[in-house]
């Protein structure tokens, strides 16, 4: 239902970077396993801000944000419809966007505008286990790795810089690491750059109730 719009955005990105050479990036964890849902963004060269007219949507289904990660362009709006039959209290204390949608059902009054570059961590005040992420990109050359950990970006030279982020990275949740391509390790056939991100799979969320139950 929403994938069509998302796909249209990607196509648009692809067309705009056509003049440049597309490079394939493999993102893997410290064990060499491919990391899906890593976000790579070109941060060098002249900035090429993307289109920000589309409305992003993060639904809430069965006490989870769906999708868990959404990549949007700076200045884009995101709507937080509630598909559950319970209320949610969506909030974020992230520096890129601090907001609060107090207990609501169905649909908030209006979508939220994300006008700063960065990572926004979403939570629900009454459901501690609910975590969602919105990656607000400043450049149209941004990609989310597929299930193979692969993503392609149009880069101009070896001096180009990219940022790498993953929700479960060991570094601070909102931090994006910058790499110069020439510093990156390449595959044997020089077809792809390899980026390693140290991650920790978050344990099942320790809620107040869990702790209580474990102790008694």
């Amino acid at each position: 239902m929403y994938s069509g719009k998302y796909f249209a955005g990607l196509v648009l990105l692809f067309i705009s970077g056509l003049a440049l050479a597309d490079m394939t990036f493999l993102v893997q964890d410290q064990d060499g396993k491919p990391l899906a849902d890593s976000v790579l963004e070109v941060v060098s060269d002249p900035l090429k801000p993307g289109v920000n007219s589309d409305l992003g949507i993060i639904d809430q289904i069965e006490k989870a944000f769906v999708p868990e990660l959404v990549v949007i362009q700076k200045g884009q709006l995101v709507d937080f419809p509630n598909s559950d039959n319970i209320r949610h209290h969506v909030y974020s204390f992230s520096s890129a966007k601090t907001f609060e949608l107090k207990l609501y059902a169905d649909r908030p009054e209006k979508p939220v505008l994300f006008d700063q570059h960065g990572v926004v961590v979403l939570g629900c005040n009454i459901h501690d286990s609910m975590v969602g992420y919105i990656y607000v990109a400043a450049d149209q050359r941004v990609v989310k790795t597929d299930s193979q950990g692969l993503g392609q970006l149009p880069v101009s030279s070896d001096n180009s810089q990219i940022s790498v982020w993953h929700a479960h990275q060991n570094k601070s949740t909102e931090q994006r690491d910058i790499y110069t391509l020439s510093d990156l390790k390449q595959s044997a056939d020089k077809q792809r750059y390899i980026v390693t991100v140290e991650v920790t799979q978050p344990p099942a969320r320790d809620t107040f109730e869990d702790t209580f139950r474990a102790n008694y």
Binding site: F93, T98, G123, D128, S129, R205, N215
Partner: protein
């Protein structure tokens, strides 16, 4: 020596009994001590272990309770949306007030908010900030929802870490209780043990007193209790607990159980047991002494009894008091032993002094008696008896009968009715001796007659009647000697004299002892001469003249003894002596040998002489006499008929049967037999007819005065006729004048010898004599066998 050994017994018995009792008590005490110590130790160990376990449980419980408080407080705090908001907006004032508020709810001493990197953001009170917070937080992250003991700014805290989730962790809250002296005291009260908290090697808190430094603390923990000067015991038992705490600065808890009160309690008990044991031991020593004395006293008494035994005192009462049955048995055994020894001693003494067969005192006792009794008597008579025919009785009737005779003799001696002192002894074998006291008017001969009559009474034993013959000697004390030994010897000399004189009794005559001594010396010389085969002996020969043809056909051999130092000894004397001493056989042997040698010499010189040799009763009774004679003639190469053996009738009668047998044997061998000294002594015609006699030698008593005595002429004539009629030749001895010789020739006597013709002379003289008188007394032809 004896006393010493008694003391040794005494000591060792004492020692052993006391030692036994003391050892038993000591052993029991040690056993009790060890057992009580062991069980007390086990019990105490269990108690202490129990206490330690309890304390650990208490500490764990306490810690958990507080941990839950911390968890709930921190959870509530971090779950608060307002708090999260305040954290996100870094609203420090709000944060601190919230931390304070929540901290007060649980009385927390530490309420901190830090960044994820451990930088202090806010705190509830006057916390100054601390290094190493990040390290502590990393340690706490590894044990989610578990509190740890950590040292922060030098103080000890039980802390817990909670992330502030929005919804990912954006900060940490660090909440804790301080563990201070107050808490420590509380825990010490709860656990009833000393507690110490250490961070690494640093002593943070301890309930032990006077701890100023780590070294002092460790020394205190290792402290020994030296109550027992040779044995040190640990004063404390320490158990170390490692609670959850940062690895970089780990905290440990030491639980210390003080053992000293237990030791004190036990030592008190041990001393009590020791004192009781010492008292019992003291009692044991006294009791042991008492029992040992009781036991040893009768033993000492028995030892003195045994000592008395050694001095010959066998009859004594033993006062052993109220002793044990063993001692009583020993005492009775000792007394029985004493009685038995005395009895045996009496028996031995009796046997030593008495003759076993007759019951009379023995020779030894008699000698002692003489020694002691003679000086007490003014006068006494000693008489010694020998049974003359004892050997025959023994041979013919057997030793049992002979012994019976000895007993009867003893009985007869003992039954002699005599008013004064008398002693009777059997000396050796057949010798008896009696000593009788004499008074002034006593007549010894009457007394001896009375005794001998009594002894000589016919004796009947087992239906056989025999008559004992005695020869006896008598001495009188003190006339015949005052020394008992001398008296005894002289009495025996007297008896010996009686024997040789064939008398039943001889009284000692003064000087006999000396004569006897001389005799003994002579006997010794005779014996030595015989053994030496020296030339002290030599032979004389007296010719016999055949009256029918005036020829010299024979000579009589006569022995002579030239004793060195004493000169010529008459043959009567030494031959008698030799007969008495049993030397006559040897003497005869010598004479026979020498005579035959001489005959051989003469025969070779053409003098066919016969020789007459005197033999005695002992010679013909000697079992080898015939054999000796035979060998002698063979050795000399002389025909036996040149040898005439002269023997008196009395000698033949000494042992008639044997004598006759020997003479017959000799005659059969070819020897000629002459009956010497015929006409005197006990010659009987009855016997004469049976004797194997070749010639009869008329005793010189008839011949020497023949020409002057009509009666002798009648006897001689009649005898010659009788002898001739019995087939015997007659030789007359002691012819001293021509008239007598003529008379004998007229009476048809066969041969004569005597001083009228020739004295006995040495061989050389005889040869000269024969040559000189060849005309008068021609020698017969060498072949002439008959005189």
């Amino acid at each position: 020596m004896k006393i010493l050994s008694v003391q040794i017994i005494n000591k060792s018995l004492h020692k052993q009994i006391v030692l036994l009792l003391v050892s038993l008590v000591l052993l029991t005490t040690v056993a009790i001590q060890v057992t009580s110590w062991w069980s007390a130790r086990n019990f105490n160990n269990q108690q202490i272990q129990q206490q330690i376990d309890n304390s650990i449980a208490i500490l764990a419980e306490y810690s958990q309770t507080r941990e839950e408080l911390l968890i709930s407080a921190s959870s509530v705090l971090t779950a608060d949306f307002g708090f999260k908001q305040a954290v996100a907006t870094a609203d420090r004032a709000t944060l601190e007030s919230m931390l304070q508020n929540h901290g007060e709810r649980i009385n927390a001493d530490l309420m901190l908010l830090t960044t994820l990197e451990g930088e202090l953001v806010a705190n509830s009170g006057d916390f100054e900030g601390a290094t190493q917070l990040r390290t502590l937080e990393r340690s706490l992250e590894a044990t989610p929802n578990r509190s740890q003991l950590a040292v922060i700014n030098g103080n000890l805290y039980q802390v817990i870490l909670q992330p502030v989730l929005a919804p990912r962790a954006i900060a940490y809250t660090l909440i804790g209780f301080e563990i201070d002296q107050k808490i420590l005291n509380k825990l010490t009260d709860l656990t009833m043990m000393d507690l110490s908290f250490l961070a690494g090697n640093q002593v943070l808190l301890t309930s032990l007193n006077n701890i100023t430094s780590k070294d002092a603390f460790m020394a205190s923990l290792q402290k020994s209790d030296n109550e027992w000067f040779f044995w040190s015991r640990p004063a404390f038992i320490n158990t170390v607990i490692k609670p959850l705490s940062p690895e970089t600065n780990p905290v440990s808890i030491i639980l210390t159980a003080d053992l000293r009160p237990i030791y004190k309690e036990y030592d008190g008990l041990a001393i009590k047991i020791g004192v009781v044991a010492a008292l019992i031991m003291l009692g044991a020593i006294f009791t042991g002494q008492y029992f040992a004395n009781r036991m040893v006293r009768p033993i000492t008494r028995l030892v003195s009894v045994a000592k008395n035994f050694s001095t010959g005192n066998y009859t004594q009462d033993i006062d052993i008091g109220n002793s044990s049955s063993e001692i009583k048995t020993l005492s009775n055994a000792l007394l029985t032993m004493g009685r038995d020894i005395q009895k045996r001693e009496n028996e031995i003494t009796y046997q030593a002094d008495h003759d076993g067969l007759t019951g009379l005192i023995n020779a030894r006792k008699m000698r002692n008696t003489l020694e002691s009794v003679l000086p007490t008597m003014d006068k006494s008579l000693q008489i010694v008896f020998y049974i003359e025919n004892f050997r025959q009785i023994n041979d013919q009737l057997g030793p049992e009968f002979a012994d019976a005779c000895l007993k009867i003799v003893a009985e007869r001696l003992q039954s002699i009715d005599y008013p004064l002192k008398q002693f009777h002894a059997r000396m050796d074998g057949i010798e008896f001796i009696s000593v009788l006291q004499l008074n002034d008017n006593a007549r010894p001969s009457e007394i001896t007659d009375k005794i001998l009559q009594s002894l000589e009474q016919p004796l009947i034993h087992k239906g056989i009647e025999i008559q004992l013959r005695f020869y006896s000697g008598v001495t009188l004390y003190p006339e015949h000697g005052e020394d008992p030994q001398i008296i005894l010897r002289r009495t025996r000399i007297a008896a010996d004299f009686a024997r040789t004189q064939k008398k039943r009794l001889h009284c000692y005559e003064i000087g006999q002892d000396e004569a006897r001594l001389e005799q003994l010396e002579m006997l010794e010389a005779l014996n030595a001469a015989l053994k030496a085969k020296s030339s002290e002996f030599y032979l004389h020969f007296q010719p016999k003249v055949n009256l029918h043809n005036n020829t010299v056909t024979a000579v009589e051999t006569l022995i002579r003894w030239q004793r060195p130092g004493s000169g010529y000894v008459p043959p009567d004397i030494f031959i008698d002596l030799a007969e008495q001493a049993g030397l006559i056989v040897a003497l005869t042997r010598w004479v026979v040998g020498q005579t035959l040698e001489q005959l051989k010499s003469w025969h070779q010189a053409g003098l066919p002489l016969q020789a007459a040799i005197n033999v005695s009763a002992e010679d013909i009774c000697h079992p080898q006499f015939c054999q000796m004679m035979e060998q002698a003639v063979i050795h000399a190469g002389i025909q036996p008929h040149y040898c005439i053996l002269e023997i008196t009738e009395r000698d033949i009668m000494y042992d008639e049967a044997l004598g006759l047998l020997t003479l017959k044997s000799l005659k059969k061998m070819g020897f000629r037999i002459a009956l010497d000294d015929y006409g005197v002594g006990q010659s009987t015609l009855v016997k004469l007819k049976d004797l194997p006699i070749d010639e009869l030698k008329l005793d010189k008593a008839f011949i020497m005065t023949l020409d002057q005595s009509d009666k002798n002429q009648k006897i001689v004539r009649a005898t010659i006729i009788m002898a001739h009629s019995l087939g015997m030749k007659v030789v007359a001895e002691g012819v001293e004048n021509a008239a007598s010789m003529q008379l004998l020739k007229d009476m048809n006597c066969d041969a004569v010898q005597g001083y009228h013709l020739a004295k006995p002379m040495e061989p050389a003289q005889l040869e000269t004599w024969l040559e000189t008188n060849d005309a008068a007394y021609r020698l017969p032809d060498i072949d002439a066998n008959d005189p």
